[in-house]
């Protein structure tokens, strides 16, 4: 099972995927607000979204898991 990790610390501003969706390498996963900037995090993995670990407003640290793929 592949995991999509978050590459920066911040607050989840938007979740751009849904469970069951197919993601490719480069698919936009979430928008994170960090230091007054909005940064789009893209997937480094491909697969079907099995579980989303975050929701809007959550604080997330670099390296934590955003979603699981099957």
């Amino acid at each position: 099972m592949a995991e999509i990790k978050c590459e920066m610390t911040g607050v989840i501003d938007q979740v751009l995927i849904t469970v069951g969706a197919t993601v490719e390498v480069g698919t936009e996963i979430v928008v994170i607000e960090s230091m007054k900037s909005l940064i789009t995090i893209k997937s480094l993995e491909a697969g079907e979204v099995e579980e989303i670990k975050v929701s809007q407003g959550d604080f997330i640290e670099e390296g934590e898991t955003l979603a699981l793929l099957k």
């Binding site: 607050v11 230091m35 900037s37």
Partner: protein
């Protein structure tokens, strides 16, 4: 004098204000969220009010209450957060607290861009040829023809570069007008647009003014702030190579006129665009102390933050116009925690090593230190490195030397980018304009990243 001042801000500017207060014998209070308790401004303040809300720097009621409870007589808002919010100024006025800044009226006049343009035109201040608020696309077309293409579409409630489009032809306007309106609606909850003539490669030149409550207004020369990226200033200097003594007095007198037109009190900055032919146009007035104020302090010898406090207390300006002399050259670079190799995304985290540069005529305004954790909740400025030299050449060499001494580890910074700018031939020549840095980045003459494995 005030006995106690509350500082409604954080970071390097809060530290700067605490230093000015201490030198004036004033006690300081800060209101801060828990996550900022290790920040230098909290350590240095005489009294602290801790909140569990990380948005407390924007909480007007909590700030006013903290000032009243601790017995502070005045509030310094710094820059950003509530510094230019007329509702905050009004709340201070209503609570019987002195805001160290202008009145809510002056803020309101200067904050609404089309209103400010109108007041400036009436006061005889040159503004970029343009329009008032446009009713619709048809009117936008008529006004654009009048001004002459290319034009800039701008949001009336704007700021930070949002809701702005450069329009080359009437056909482009069909597409860009609704797009900019939509962006302005989203960003500022107001779709009002106006147009301004687009200037080719202008410089950003701003004039520092000081105005007391007795009606005295003076100017303290210019700052050259053309080195920008996405309309965020990066390197600032005073004076400017493009400003002669004659132009300085012309711009200075116009800036004084602008301040007087809105009954301005305090330290303020009148921003102009200076075109290649030497014409200058009013852009906006910032009704606060600015990030880049130290370069003016270095060349005039005047402590602007102390002046702000003295003015707010009702004192007469400590200097008059004829005593203002521009001596030598000062340059500042903003130190930012960002990854310049990955589209300048912010780089929060723990600073594992921070070795500040020292030595002659070298000043570092910062709130960070080794072991400091940069929070992802606030902006990415970690400090400002400012130097003074007898002339521009000496100042440049000193800034380069200081950047070599500066060590920051644990987070990514823009230090290497600053070094490249300082050694760029066009920058050294002084042949600069507001699009230069973006041009150099897109041509890869200046690149992101780090140097030899270190920031």
């Amino acid at each position: 004098m005030f006995e106690k001042v509350l500082i409604a801000n954080r970071g390097e500017i809060a530290v700067r204000v605490i230093r000015a207060c201490r030198e004036l014998g004033i006690k300081t209070v800060v209101i801060h969220p828990e996550i900022d308790q290790d920040s230098l401004h909290v350590t240095l303040a005489d009294e602290k009010v801790c909140s569990n809300d990380r948005r407390v720097y924007l909480d007007i009621n909590a700030i006013i209450e903290a000032a009243i409870t601790t017995g502070a007589q005045a509030i310094h808002p710094g820059y950003g957060f509530l510094a230019e919010n007329p509702n905050f100024a009004l709340a201070c006025e209503n609570a019987g607290l002195t805001l160290i800044g202008p009145s809510s009226h002056s803020m309101r006049f200067m904050g609404e861009k089309t209103l400010a343009r109108k007041i400036m035109l009436e006061a005889g201040v040159p503004v970029t040829p343009g329009s008032e608020v446009l009713a619709d696309l048809e009117e936008a077309k008529i006004q654009s023809e009048k001004v002459g293409y290319p034009i800039m579409l701008k949001a009336s409630a704007g700021g930070g570069g949002r809701g702005i489009r450069v329009v080359q032809t009437p056909e482009d306007l069909d597409k860009l007008f609704p797009e900019a309106q939509k962006e302005a609606q989203l960003a500022f909850n107001c779709p009002d647009m106006y147009i301004e003539k687009y200037l080719d490669r202008p410089r950003h030149i701003e004039i520092q003014v000081l105005a007391d409550k007795l009606g005295n207004v003076i100017y303290l020369g210019e700052r050259e702030c053309s080195i920008q990226r996405r309309r965020q200033k990066l390197i600032e200097e005073a004076p400017s190579l493009a400003v002669t003594n004659y132009l300085r007095s012309q711009m200075g007198e116009i800036a004084v006129k602008a301040a007087k037109a809105v009954d301005y009190v305090g330290a303020g900055t009148v921003e102009f665009l200076l075109d290649q032919q030497g014409n200058f146009y009013f852009m906006e007035m910032n009704t606060r102390i600015q990030v880049e104020h130290p370069v003016t302090e270095m060349v005039t010898g005047i402590d602007l933050v102390k002046e702000q406090i003295l003015i707010a207390f009702g004192e007469k300006l400590s200097v008059n116009q004829s005593e203002i002399e521009i001596k030598g050259w000062s340059i500042e670079c903003r130190l930012i925690a960002e990854d310049t190799s990955r589209d300048f995304r912010p780089s929060p985290g723990t600073i594992t090593l921070f070795n500040p540069p020292m030595g002659p005529w070298t000043r570092l305004d910062t709130h960070v230190y080794s072991g400091f954790k940069i929070s992802p909740f606030y902006d990415s400025l970690i400090g400002k490195l400012i130097v003074w030299g007898r002339d521009r050449k000496e100042a440049l060499a000193r800034l380069e030397r200081s950047l070599l001494e500066l060590q920051v580890e644990g987070v990514k910074t823009n230090i290497y980018l600053c070094k490249q700018i300082l050694s760029n031939a066009q920058f050294i020549e002084g042949d600069i304009h507001i699009n230069l840095l973006e041009d150099l980045l897109s041509q890869k003459i200046i690149i992101g990243g780090i140097e030899d494995g270190r920031n």
